[in-house]
């Protein structure tokens, strides 16, 4: 479903040019749960930006569901993110002073989703937060905030869910709760891409990719992940 063909990303020009990604080849099938790991400077954020359609590759091709993402203009990228990608970030995930309901419905409002009301309640039920639907985002705990963010990522029924250090700000107990929710979503058939630098968080994913200096260093299936389920 996801095909990266010799994807490169360069920043700067001429002598100062810096190659963040050096020809990434990667296939991700529908329904996979994959983690991308690597030290800072390895290019994992750059890869996430490209996978999440926040940025275009400098060279090579990124195909999602057969569509060449690199050829889209800004407007089309925005629509692509809205319909195909669900984001969960490390921090600043929700609009301040805004209710859970409004936060979750935001992508639906931008995308003009019909029957949004029903869909919002459906996804909030999935993350077990229906009782907090009218709470303001500043009245929630860190774990609850990430659960709202997961619900928001699900609202548009995206092709992929991008989780960028989703547990970076959480204690370990809450982190594992969040990861279990992601694992459940994976079990329900969602494609999940997890970016992290923590090995035990990455171990929830079935397939682990390690990046180093802008190249794929290892791509292995995780035997542990079954035991975590």
């Amino acid at each position: 479903m996801i095909e990266l063909k010799n994807v490169t990303k360069e920043y700067g020009e001429g002598e100062n040019a810096f190659q963040a990604l050096k020809g990434i080849e990667l296939d991700i099938a529908k329904g996979e749960f994959i983690s991308i790991m690597g030290p800072s400077g390895s290019g994992k954020s750059t890869l996430m930006n490209i996978l999440g359609a926040l940025d275009r590759p400098t060279g090579g091709q990124y195909l999602l569901d057969g569509q060449d993402v690199g050829s889209l203009d800004d407007e089309e990228l925005a629509e692509f993110r809205n319909k195909r990608v669900g984001f969960i970030f490390q921090q600043f995930n929700l609009l301040p002073r805004t209710s859970v309901y409004d936060n979750v419905s935001l992508p639906g409002l931008y995308g003009g989703l019909p029957q949004l009301d029903r869909r919002v309640k459906e996804v909030l039920e999935k993350v077990n937060l229906l009782d907090k639907i009218q709470n303001k985002s500043n009245q929630l705990s860190g774990g609850q905030i990430q659960r709202v963010a997961i619900a928001r990522a699900l609202v548009m029924e995206p092709s992929i869910i991008m989780a960028d250090e989703p547990t970076g700000n959480l204690d370990s107990k809450t982190s594992h709760e969040i990861m279990e929710i992601l694992q459940d979503l994976h079990a329900q058939g969602n494609t999940i891409i997890l970016i992290t630098h923590e090995t035990d968080i990455a171990s929830y994913a079935k397939r682990q990719i390690r990046l180093k200096d802008g190249e794929i260093f290892s791509d292995s299936n995780n035997k542990d992940s079954d035991s975590k389920q």
């Binding site: 930006n49 999440g52 926040l54 940025d55 800004d74 407007e75 925005a78 629509e79 993110r81 809205n82 319909k83 984001f87 970030f89 600043f92 995930n93 609009l95 301040p96 002073r97 805004t98 409004d102 419905s105 935001l106 992508p107 409002l109 931008y110 995308g111 003009g112 949004l116 928001r152 548009m156």
Partner: protein, 407 residues
């Protein structure tokens, strides 16, 4: 629709959470709109007062004054006078069938003396039919009669302020028959007028009417008239009568129409001139007040720029989940428009209070029309769009990746 509702909701939340900052932001708009509203309301009030007092002269009024505003080549006519000869010519029902009444008017200022006090006021020498031409209503007594004019009697009809100034000692029911000295000539008061109020610039209650014959021969010693006032049967016939008067009177005076040495005007002409003058003044003052709106708009720009910077990560998040440039642009534009319109409403309320307050001190009934309020509201919205556009554009153009990373 839901999207717009949410954007409005978020903007309202933002404005309420930052109450003090929001208020300081819109203060410039509040002051600007208040000043514009107050000036326009007072201007319209003044205009209405002037036009109603001009209308009280009678809407079917025509005046003939000596001289022209546009003079021909030098030496064409030096004898630009209007007198008894012209009056007799006009005052003929067969010659001018549309004229219902005509009266000479000799207007001059004179010292008036009562029992003790002395004032300086306008004295009008007119004919006995003058009340048919101008709507003068009598509080007491009568206007002078044809016989008074024929005999050049020393009788006077006085305005209420003249009575108040000069005959304040006299009981109001004893004013009739009192003596009044005009330029050292004694007159007997035969009538007291009802109050007509001030006509914008002059006080219509501080006036004295005497027979024109008396004014001409005894008081002012002049044969020429200040003007001849005419009323027509029907206001619709005003324009036709003006043309007829101009043509026939020129011929009577032995002049070509283009060389005529007199001017015929209607009450509509005065009204038009007066309202032009007041509206020029009002527009000028309101324009000066509008400068503060520009200053206020710059304040809006400033705060919106600060707000965009503060909310960079929110913008990044919105873009990540699918907001288009247009969505971000409209959100920030709507916020600035809501701020300025809110400021506009406060300004309107303040301006109305100001207009009513100042109006009471100045004796003008402030006129707050729907037009003014609609104008002020649209101006404040426009200020929001103009001065909110650049910050909103900046927000819309933010790169989502760097916006998300912004610390």
């Amino acid at each position: 629709m839901k999207k717009i509702r949410l954007i409005i909701k978020l903007a309202v939340v933002g404005i309420i959470t930052n109450k003090v900052r929001s208020f300081l932001t819109v203060l410039g708009i509040v002051i600007g709109i208040a000043a514009v509203i107050a000036l326009l309301a007072l201007g319209q009030g003044a205009q209405l007062a002037i036009s109603s007092s001009i209308n009280s002269l009678g809407s079917n009024l025509i005046g003939i004054i000596p001289g022209t505003t546009f003079r021909g080549p030098p030496g064409t006519s030096t004898n630009a006078e209007i007198g008894q000869r012209e009056y007799d010519y006009i005052n003929s029902a067969t010659r001018f069938p549309t004229v219902s009444a005509a009266s000479p008017v000799i207007t001059d200022f004179a010292t008036l003396r009562g029992a003790e006090e002395e004032i300086f006021a306008e004295v009008n020498g007119v004919n006995s039919n003058f009340t048919e031409i101008q709507s003068l209503e009598l509080e007491q007594g009568r206007f002078f009669r044809e016989a008074d004019v024929a005999a050049s009697k020393n009788v006077a009809v006085i305005g209420p302020d003249v009575a108040a100034e000069l005959l304040s000692e006299i009981q109001s029911d004893e004013i009739l028959g009192q003596e009044l000295i005009i330029r050292n000539i004694p007159f007997r008061v035969v009538g007291l007028l009802k109050s007509r109020g001030s006509a914008g610039f002059s006080n219509q209650d501080l006036e004295v009417y005497i027979p024109y014959s008396t004014a001409s021969t005894k008081v002012f010693n002049r044969d020429n008239y200040s003007q001849i006032l005419i009323s027509v049967n029907d206001a619709k016939l005003s324009d036709a009568t003006v043309i007829q008067l101009e043509e026939k009177l020129s011929a009577f005076k032995g002049l070509e129409l283009e060389d005529k040495d007199f001017t015929v005007y209607t009450s509509d002409d005065i009204l038009a001139t007066a309202s032009t003058v007041t509206s020029i003044f009002t527009t000028l003052l309101a324009s000066i007040a509008a400068i503060s709106l520009i200053v206020g708009g710059i304040g809006i720009s400033n705060i919106m720029l600060v707000s965009v910077t503060e909310r960079t990560r929110e913008i990044g998040l919105r873009k990540a989940i699918g907001a288009r440039e247009g969505d971000i642009l409209s959100q920030f534009l709507l916020e600035s428009v809501m701020l300025t319109v809110l400021g506009g409403f406060i300004g309107i309320a303040l301006g109305v209070l100001l207009a009513v307050g100042v109006g009471q001190l100045a004796g003008i009934q402030a006129q707050i029309s729907f037009d003014i309020v609609a104008l002020a509201t649209s101006i404040s919205a426009l200020v929001g769009v103009i001065f909110g556009y650049f910050p909103a554009f900046k927000a819309a153009k933010l790169d989502p990746i760097s916006a998300l990373r912004f610390e």
